[in-house]
């Protein structure tokens, strides 16, 4: 998936001279996950460069650049390190179009590796998507595979508004179903690992059904899509697995269509539970599908603790926990 992400930036930098890429270690080195490798050599160091370790500076400068007319696609090294930039994201990037009545706009993409599963401990594992979905003016995207990652990132760069692009780092190199004790399969062995060349966009705001099913709808995104698929197979529950892809704007139609059919819903995410994005999904599902629901909408999420190092697999909502929720939901 990392190659797909790099490819998206490459395609867009070639097409549009206003696209610039910067962040910590993204220049000569190409980023700690190598997402920007080769871009400086190809597009020069004024279009792809290292930034000081100041997330607020990176986002703040990007807001200014976007207001000028550039399209910055910046990297926050880990989503866990976006907090110093939170004011610039929330009070500035997200509000600029509105408060200036469109005189100034802020087309920019903030890429950040997110999520756990790599023994990164408290500060290399967080999934802060709900901190963005609560902020009007932002769009929030979480890809689950290389084909989407490239198409969504291209759509994000082309979008006229600020887009938060969370990259589940656990699936950079291959799909991950939560069975950490099994060998890792690379993307090259997965159909969604075959990334088309050149320019294409996956529109923001459209979910994808990854598995059709009749019994229960699973709402997931990022790494959890693969966990949910594994849980469905392993439990034998005929689950319909929806990959949300974009959290805001949300494809509510896809959700209601599915839950209207299945009458049951399980929501899965890695982030802590209280006020996680699952809460919003749960609220929306019961608001729109109340009379179809045959069981309570369930949430399987990270626990309300910091992401621990040693207890990584106790924390991570793996296929066993998701499977249990599927079975419980079916029993009700």
């Amino acid at each position: 998936m990392i190659e797909a992400i790099r490819d998206a930036m490459d395609v867009m930098m070639a097409r549009d001279g206003d696209v610039v890429v910067f962040g910590e270690d993204v220049g000569f080195f190409g980023g700690v996950f190598r997402a920007t490798q080769g871009l400086q050599a190809k597009y020069g160091k004024t279009r792809c460069f290292d930034a000081p370790i100041s997330e607020l500076g990176i986002v703040g400068a990007a807001v200014g650049m976007a207001a000028y007319g550039l399209k910055p696609c910046i990297e926050i090294q880990f989503a866990d390190y976006m907090y110093p930039a939170y004011d610039q994201i929330v009070s500035e990037a997200a509000r600029l179009r509105y408060r200036s009545n469109g005189q100034f706009t802020c087309p920019m993409v903030i890429r950040m590796p997110a999520g756990g599963g790599i023994f990164g401990g408290q500060t290399h594992s967080q999934s802060p998507e709900a901190l963005f979905t609560h902020v009007c003016g932002l769009k929030t995207v979480v890809p689950s595979n290389p084909v989407d990652a490239k198409g969504l990132l291209i759509a994000a760069i082309e979008d006229p508004d600020p887009v938060i692009f969370l990259e589940p780092k656990r699936i950079y190199n291959g799909p991950f179903d939560g069975h950490h004790d099994r060998p890792v399969v690379p993307w090259s062995k997965h159909e969604l690992g075959e990334v088309p060349d050149g320019h294409y966009a996956v529109p923001l705001g459209k979910a994808a059904v990854r598995r059709t099913g009749a019994d229960v709808t699973v709402l997931a995104y990022g790494t959890m899509v693969h966990v949910a698929l594994a849980a469905a197979e392993e439990t034998g529950v005929d689950a319909e697995v929806i990959d949300l892809r974009t959290l805001v704007p949300l494809d509510l139609d896809a959700i209601t269509a599915s839950v209207g059919k299945t009458g049951r819903c399980v929501i899965v995410h890695e982030a802590t539970q209280t006020s996680g994005f699952g809460a919003e999904l749960s609220a929306l599902v019961q608001e729109t599908c109340f009379y179809h629901l045959e069981a309570p909408v369930a949430r399987v999420t990270g626990w309300d603790t910091p992401y621990p190092h040693a207890q990584e697999w106790d924390y991570f909502p793996g296929p066993a926990r998701v499977g249990r929720a599927l079975l419980e939901t079916m029993e009700q």
Binding site: A61, V63, T105
Partner: protein
């Protein structure tokens, strides 16, 4: 265990509090004309002393003296005087309008008019200011419509910002005036980013960043200095030191450093201090700094030494925390009177013309206000619509917001 005396926390205090006698004897003011004017490409290291002095042009006799003098024609100076007078009249009218309930809030410039008015004249079309709420002079001196400003203040049906923003948080792209944020200092680093963009695109436009003394404490200020210093961004970094941050005196933000200009020295940024109540000095320093930026010589930090004569905002009452007469004691005088006297000393102005100008300016402002009020005020007349509230959050309204708008019945 220890033979050390107990530690004690230092908490800086202003020299005087209400009831005391104002005292600015600690403010060291060099004579006008005494500070050297470095070459435009001077190395920042070679001019460190400029961060600890005050560049001044107008002396006590209202003459323009020294190496920073001589840049402006009579015509330009008269225009500058008129800009400042307009801003002052504008403030006066809007303060009254606020008290009359025509708007919720206002912030005035009394005493600081020279800074934004003179700075504006150092810029070229296409340059971009990232101002605070106390630089409306950038708009007035740039010829922006007074009516539009007032419509914003009144949040009326012609408010260019559709009622979405607090009064005085203007935005005027075509006038080089970036959308004001209610959050302090966020725009200091944005200005640097804008300037970097100009350099990335091999443009010739420069940016100007603005902050007050108090707000220099924010992290965004540091980020701006780091980025400006690293990428040699074509930006002028302006710090308006008006001695106060709401009720907090400048010593809390400044701490043990001698001046705010000194902050730039640790970054190798050319840093100057200037008499903010001296139109000619402000203009000359702004020109110098802008020229450096435009010649790709990098950023300049400028501290304007001035005094906030009025209340912080219409929500504030300064008599609670500083002597009522402190502004009278301020040693740098009043910027309008100083420029007026200089013009008179030059033989290019007179008391009569000044009186007449005052009346004209006030007429202009009142006429603008009348027009603006005809489009409504906060609680009366025309106003932005509820639809305007839902528009513009995104370029295209997403489904959830459409649903909400429907629910709201608009």
């Amino acid at each position: 265990m220890s033979d050390y005396a107990p530690l004690v926390l230092t908490v800086p205090e202003p020299a005087v509090r209400p009831g005391g006698t104002p005292d600015f004897s600690n403010v060291k003011i060099p004579r006008a004309g005494t500070v050297a004017r470095p070459e435009i490409d001077a190395e920042p290291e070679s001019i460190r002393d400029l961060a600890f002095s005050i560049i001044r042009v107008l002396n006590r006799d209202a003459e323009a003296v020294g190496p920073w003098a001589g840049l402006l024609t009579d015509e330009e100076l008269r225009a500058g005087l008129r800009d400042m007078m307009t801003l002052r009249a504008f403030d006066a009218r809007m303060l009254i309008a606020q008290r009359q309930g025509k708007t919720s809030f206002y912030m005035q410039h009394m005493g600081e008019e020279a800074i934004s008015c003179a700075f504006r004249k150092a810029l070229e079309p296409g340059d971009m200011n990232f101002p605070t709420y106390r630089q409306a002079g950038l708009l007035i001196a740039g010829g922006y419509s007074l009516v539009d400003m007032m419509c914003q203040i009144f949040s009326n049906e012609k408010d260019p910002l559709k009622g979405r923003q607090l009064p005085v948080l203007y935005s005027a792209r075509d006038h080089g005036f970036f959308s004001l944020s209610g959050n302090l200092t966020t725009q200091f680093i944005q200005a640097v980013g804008w300037a970097m963009a100009s350099a990335i695109k091999n443009d010739t436009k420069i940016a100007a960043a603005w902050t007050g003394d108090g707000a220099t404490a924010e992290g965004d200020f540091h980020a701006a200095l780091v980025f400006a210093s690293t990428y040699k961004a074509p930006v002028v970094l302006n710090v308006v030191n008006n001695q106060w941050a709401i009720s907090t005196f400048q010593g809390i933000a400044k701490g043990g450093s001698g001046t705010f200009a000194a902050r730039g020295l640790g970054f190798g940024i050319a840093s100057l201090r200037v008499d903010g109540n001296d139109y000619l000095a402000v203009h000359a320093v702004a020109k110098w700094a802008a020229e450096r930026a435009r010649r790709n010589l990098g950023p300049t930090l400028v501290e304007y030494v001035t005094y906030r004569v009025g209340a912080h905002s219409t929500s504030d009452d300064p008599t609670a925390y500083r002597p009522k007469t402190e502004s009278d004691a301020w040693p740098l005088g009043d910027p309008v009177i100083r420029l007026k006297n200089h013009l008179i000393a030059r033989g290019a102005w007179s008391e009569e013309r000044h009186k007449q100008a005052e009346a004209e300016v006030m007429d202009t402002v009142i006429a603008a206000q009348k027009e603006a009020e005809s489009y409504g005020t906060l609680h009366a007349g025309g106003h932005p619509s509820m639809r305007d509230m839902f528009e513009g959050v995104y370029a295209e309204m997403p489904p959830h917001l459409r649903r909400q708008r429907q629910k709201a019945g608009v």
